[in-house]
């Protein structure tokens, strides 16, 4: 058994919040560079160059890459041999987010009640996904999720008979409806299978996968390739101003499902594809 104090959790989560917002991951930057080379539209090419420049300036000046520093989504994998002391585990994650958004000068974009809509002032609460796993470590991943792309995400129950083609149609339709509103080039996280709640969680987890890595199942990897090509043939392009780089990657995650069901979810991740992981 390993003992972890909540102060360590607060510190780790706080740091992850601002680090994620300041420093765009290398796989995303590599995606921008590839897209910049192949982009056919002059406007699109200029935008991709500006995004690379923006990322560099953010890194050098330790500033948020995008002003919408999102609602924090925190994924936690807790080893079953960890014992937490000093306070409440979930509270410590919220305290970490509060500290990180304050110390990092990140924007506070959360309203406490979805209908009354008063800003909570400290960007809490975060959305926390916790999983118990083997081992004696805790792994934290912070995904600051901006509103522009999250708002364009969608979920649908297809008929099982609609199969691959049905999935493709739904993903393409979602991307076309999102157009420039979701700040392309995007990463298109797709969930297939599971239940109503599980499928959206799969789509969300999918965007955490490194750009360039395909699903281990060959038929899903093939679907990822075909969807990427078709999405880049929509013409939407960077910022929806036309072009051949609409998506950087289409990661798909799947799960078993009921004999009557074929749920699909699409979680759109904008070009501010921020994610940062740390292990305690």
């Amino acid at each position: 058994m390993r003992i972890v104090h909540v102060d360590q959790i607060i510190e780790t989560v706080a740091k992850l919040c601002w680090e994620a917002c300041y420093y765009l991951p290398e796989d995303v930057l590599a995606g921008f560079r590839r897209a910049e080379k192949t982009e056919a539209s002059p406007i699109g090419k200029t935008i991709l160059q500006q995004l690379l420049e923006n990322a560099e300036e953010a890194k050098v000046n330790h500033m948020p890459y995008c002003h919408d520093t999102g609602m924090a989504v925190v994924f936690v994998e807790v080893g079953q041999d960890v014992h937490i002391t000093g306070g409440n585990f979930l509270d410590s994650i919220q305290e970490g987010v509060r500290t990180g958004y304050r110390e990092g000068y990140l924007r506070k974009s959360v309203v406490g009640d979805p209908l009354i809509r008063v800003n909570t002032g400290d960007n809490t609460p975060a959305v926390v996904h916790t999983e118990i796993v083997p081992g004696d470590q805790i792994k934290f991943t912070v995904l600051p999720k901006g509103g522009g792309s999250e708002n364009m995400s969608a979920m649908k129950f297809l008929l099982p008979g609609e199969g691959m083609q049905g999935v493709k149609n739904f993903v393409l339709q979602t991307i076309k409806e999102a157009g420039g509103k979701a700040c392309p080039p995007v990463v298109v996280g797709v969930g297939i299978g599971g239940s109503f709640d599980k499928v959206t969680s799969l789509a969300k987890h999918a965007v955490l996968r490194e750009i360039g890595v395909h699903h281990h199942e060959p038929h899903i990897a093939q679907l990822e390739k075909e969807l990427l090509e078709e999405i880049n043939n929509t013409g939407i392009g960077p910022q929806g101003l036309g072009g051949t780089s609409t998506a950087l990657w289409v990661p798909i995650e799947t799960y078993a499902c009921h004999i009557t069901a074929l749920p699909v979810a699409v979680n759109i991740q904008c070009h501010a594809a921020r994610k940062k992981t740390a292990v305690l």
Partner: protein, 194 residues
């Protein structure tokens, strides 16, 4: 697709001259307002009251910045999704706003309002926040301070990079450009090209 350096307030001649795809480097005063401020302003206009700030002839930037770090004029800032302001935009253009700055495509109602009232809907790059914040030379909250990042701010900008997305002639840059690149790679592979 011409390039211009323009100063605010935009004149009617400026507006008639601008065509979709034109690049504009804008210098001068602009006003930042987004969802909550628009709701309040349009409620005032509908009940025949005056706005807390005179925005006739002005340009509105749909955005909400990060807090500034010590020594910074403004925190990172870039446009928010324009279509959320679509329900308010025609009323604001009718009132006398000459330009808006946002990201992403807008609805027919905005295209028509730009034509009817002689105004522009500009696009700036969403998420280009570090770069854009450095083009802001001054900022002051002028109304609705209680709205935090959504308060109305007056900004002084220098060479703020914009694209004309919807012009006063009823043209739509998004529609035009997307049509050019639809199936571009497919056609190119077949030797069709465009």
């Amino acid at each position: 697709m011409a390039e211009y350096r323009l100063k605010t307030p935009l004149t009617d001649e400026d507006i008639q001259m601008l065509q979709i795809g034109d690049q504009v480097l804008l210098t001068g005063t602009i006003y930042m307002a987004r969802d909550a401020a628009h709701k309040r302003m349009v409620d005032l206009l509908e009940s025949g009251q005056s706005l807390p700030v005179n925005l006739r002839g002005e340009v509105i930037f749909y955005a909400g910045p990060c807090p500034p770090k010590p020594g910074q004029i403004i925190g990172p800032v870039a446009p928010t999704t324009a279509y959320r302001m679509d329900p308010y935009a025609p009323a604001m253009y009718e009132y006398g706003v000459k330009g808006t700055i946002g990201k992403g495509p807008r609805r027919e109602m905005v295209k028509e309002a730009c034509k009817q009232y002689g105004a522009i809907s500009f696009a700036a790059v969403g998420g280009l926040s570090t770069i854009l914040s450095r083009r802001v030379t001054d900022v002051e909250v002028v109304a609705y301070e209680d709205l935090g990042p959504e308060a109305i701010r007056r900004l002084e900008v220098e060479d703020f990079p914009l694209l004309v997305a919807y012009d006063a002639h009823g043209q739509d840059l998004y529609e035009q450009e997307i049509a050019k690149y639809e199936n571009y790679n497919k056609n190119a592979n077949k030797g069709v090209g465009i």
